[in-house]
């Protein structure tokens, strides 16, 4: 049992599985699993910072990943000048009205004594801003979405390198996390859970329905890449000679090289984050966070501003998740709001953190890699098992058709069962948190 818990053994086993997939299925698939596994590991790291360090229950990872993804569009997509000239002015005006109203309300709240009259004024200003801004906004949206709707119909992005969006996405998400944290932190733990769940749904709804922003469900495709394109690679002499030596086709070689370079990029980010997290965890700050998690009352009694510290951790973790979200869109080269499902983007990450070992960064990393592999491979394996099971039923049997038709739904149940089993039997995860006595006796 002890060797099973050895991190080197666990990571080694993962490596072996990856090599097996490369040999049995294909190298591209293995590298694809590794790439998405690395991104998942970064998301798991972000959630682990919140849950493992501070006990904050964020079940809105999906929302932050989507914010990161949308930022990739805003940063990297080509700008659409026609859309800006069609509706930009009205849009900015509407934005200006709203911002003005916010400023007025803030000033009002500061200057006037708290009273019913003050509340009425606040409400009146808000309503007035709505009445002015709403038609402006409606007109702007209509104009923007009318610009070449088949290809753009949105404001486009800045046309900047997509790698920038990894940082900017994290910053945007940090801002969103600040707002949510201000509201929901310091209240019951359940409220943060519900608030994050809600905000995630709202973020995705906005990205799906506001076509002028990110084209909604029409998707943004063809985002520029940070790595070379396959079509260019196959022209390169060194690629050709490499594929000759290894005995693969040039096309395959190019695809492998592209995936490999993505993996390297992701691994660099992951290692940097991991290093930072480890340093933070060992620093007095990390010890304090865990002390607060283990005994919040005592920490408050010692005069720590727990809510403020929690807010910082919440922002940090959300920013990391958003960074991974931007990386995911970079890898895909497209932004598809319809694919943001809570199961895939929130709960899968939670399973990674809990199975990997909450509170341990290496655990989160391992959980991210392993669970992603399981997620990908569970489908063909599960389908194979189900087909074997129903083989006893005759072809064309109604029950057989029903089971085969709905077998994919079982993935949901399987992942849930995995979470329950992990919570029950290895609540501390594959690589448990190193026990440091934070109680300070």
């Amino acid at each position: 049992m002890k060797t099973l818990r050895n991190p080197f053994f666990l990571f080694g086993a993962y490596g072996v599985c990856l090599v097996l997939i490369a040999l049995l299925q294909s190298v591209q698939l293995a590298l694809g699993i590794l790439g998405l596994g690395l991104i998942s590991a970064i998301m798991a790291l972000g959630i682990n910072i919140q849950w493992g360090y501070a006990g904050l229950l964020n079940i809105g990872a999906m929302g932050f990943a989507a914010i990161g993804g949308a930022t990739a569009v805003w940063v990297a997509a080509d700008p659409v000048p026609a859309a800006w000239s069609a509706g930009g002015a009205d849009l900015l005006l509407a934005l200006f009205v709203v911002l003005g109203a916010v400023v007025i309300i803030l000033v009002l709240n500061r200057v006037m004594p708290s009273s019913a009259f003050q509340k009425i004024c606040t409400l009146a200003v808000g309503l007035l801003a709505f009445v002015i801004a709403r038609p402006l906004f409606g007109k702007a949206v209509e104009a923007i979405e009318a610009v070449d709707p088949a290809l753009s119909g949105y404001l486009g992005g800045l046309g900047a390198p997509i790698l920038l969006s990894w940082m900017i996405g994290a910053l945007v998400a940090a801002g969103a996390a600040w707002v949510i944290g201000k509201i929901a932190l310091g209240l019951r733990a359940d409220y943060l859970a519900i608030a994050t769940l809600g905000i995630a749904e709202i973020v995705v709804a906005i990205l799906k329905h506001e076509d002028w922003l990110t084209r909604g469900v029409k998707n943004v495709v063809g985002l520029p890449r940070p790595v070379p394109y396959e079509v260019d690679l196959v022209e390169m002499p060194w690629v050709l000679s490499l594929s000759n030596t290894l005995g693969t086709s040039a096309d395959d070689m190019a695809a492998i090289l592209v995936r490999l370079s993505y993996c390297v990029l992701f691994a660099v980010v992951l290692l940097a984050l991991l290093w930072l997290s480890e340093v933070a965890l060992r620093a007095p700050w990390g010890r304090m966070m865990r002390a607060i998690r283990d005994n919040e009352v005592a920490a408050r009694a010692m005069g720590k501003n727990v809510t403020k510290l929690h807010l910082r951790v919440f922002i940090l973790g959300s920013a990391v998740v958003a960074m991974a979200g931007a990386m995911l869109v970079t890898l895909d080269g497209q932004f598809t709001p319809g694919t943001y499902q809570p199961l895939r983007f929130t709960f899968l990450i939670w399973i990674m953190v809990i199975i990997g070992g909450s509170g341990n960064n290496w655990g989160a990393l391992l959980g991210g890699l392993v669970i992603w592999m399981f997620w990908v491979e569970a489908e063909p394996i599960g389908l194979a098992i189900v087909s074997l099971l129903v083989a006893v039923l005759p072809e064309g049997n109604e029950i057989r058709d029903h089971i085969l038709g709905n077998a994919a739904q079982m993935r949901l149940a399987l992942m849930g069962a995995l979470l329950l089993l992990a919570l029950r039997f290895t609540p501390r995860g594959l690589i448990p948190e190193r026990q440091v006595d934070t109680r300070g006796r």
Partner: protein
């Protein structure tokens, strides 16, 4: 004058009637959440799926009755099937409690752990439900469609607006009132109900008084299953049954429970109506209403709508946030930690 009568009818038809029906459904859902919270002290994220499971059982029973050639005239078969569905749901919750939740209760785990466990349960249930009945949209209301048709009202009153009341809406209000009434009677008047309230009020003292905790917990699950099955079936009759809808219903239901005051049954009912009416009123397009009430020159063109229906659930969230900011314990005071 006629214009104002028309405007009033318009609002009744599109705001009041649907709002009441939806409010009843949310209130029943929120009651279940609040009961589990006050007795087991965690937010049960699997409650939406419990509603879904109950509805699925009701649909299966309906199909069974239909296969036997039974029909109940204007009453939807699902209503007659309800008791069977409730029994099945009770079996499901008691089994889940025994197999999963009980372990953490005995260990006296933190409520947050139970919350995460309930998320696991939610996914297992969601997967099984979609596997059993399939992910498609289903209508299973085979009763009379309407109690009151807009046309009849129009003809009778001689006005251009009418009010439609669907059978499902009337049934919703009736069944929900009976269920909520029985629940409140049980909690207020019966010895067991009082024991349940005592347990929720002060667990340690309840134990010192000799109240059996396992019995109270089982009872809470049974009540939650009953309420969830009724709520889900009524919602399904009124709209349609789509398994994935229940994951989205979770937000308004929790919002209702928290807005009213988590752990407070009366608050859950109030919260349900607050959320339902806000949702309906803020996504309704008031163009026609304004055309009746304002002088023609003032009537704006285009939809006069606060929010598109796509953002329906954002409303429950915003109300939730406002309550959390200004009155964290809810309208009627609930429990806080």
């Amino acid at each position: 004058m006629q214009d104002y009568a028309n405007a009033a009818l318009l609002l009744t038809n599109y705001l009041v009637v649907p709002g009441i029906a939806y409010g009843c459904q949310l209130a029943l859902g929120a009651l279940g959440v609040t009961l589990i919270f006050s007795v087991l002290r965690f937010s049960n994220f699997a409650h939406g799926e419990l509603m879904s499971a109950g509805t699925m059982f009701a649909i299966f029973a309906t199909w069974g009755f239909q296969a036997m050639g039974l029909s109940f005239g204007p009453v939807p078969t699902a209503l007659v099937a309800l008791p069977f569905a409730i029994l099945a749901s009770i079996a499901v919750v008691l089994l889940t409690d025994k197999a999963i939740y009980r372990f953490y209760r005995i260990k006296r785990s933190d409520p947050v752990i139970l919350l995460i466990v309930s998320i696991g349960v939610m996914f297992v249930m969601a997967g099984l439900i979609r596997f059993l009945i399939g992910p498609d949209d289903r209508t299973f209301n085979d009763g009379a469609r309407f109690i009151l048709k807009a046309r009849e009202v129009k003809d009778y009153l001689g006005l251009s607006e009418g009010v439609t009341i669907k059978t499902s809406q009337a049934i919703t209000v009736l069944v929900a009132s009976i269920a909520a009434g029985l629940l409140f009677w049980f909690l207020e008047k019966t010895k067991t109900g009082k024991m349940m309230r005592a347990f929720s009020d002060n667990e340690d003292l309840a134990l010192l008084s000799g109240i059996n905790p396992e019995r109270i917990v089982k009872l809470a699950w049974v009540l939650a299953a009953v309420l969830a099955t009724i709520a889900g079936t009524l919602y399904g009759l009124d709209k349609s049954y789509k398994p994935f809808v229940f994951q989205q219903l979770l937000l308004p239901i929790f919002a209702a429970a928290i807005v009213g005051g988590l752990g407070n049954p009366l608050g859950a009912v109030i919260g349900g109506f607050v959320i339902a009416f806000s949702e309906v009123a803020l996504t309704y397009a008031y163009t026609k209403f304004l055309a009746y009430t304002l002088p023609p020159a003032w009537v704006p063109d285009g939809l006069v709508q606060f929010l598109p229906t796509d953002y329906k659930f954002a409303i429950s969230f915003v109300i939730l946030v406002l309550i959390l900011l200004y009155r964290p314990t809810g309208i009627l005071r609930g429990k806080t930690l």
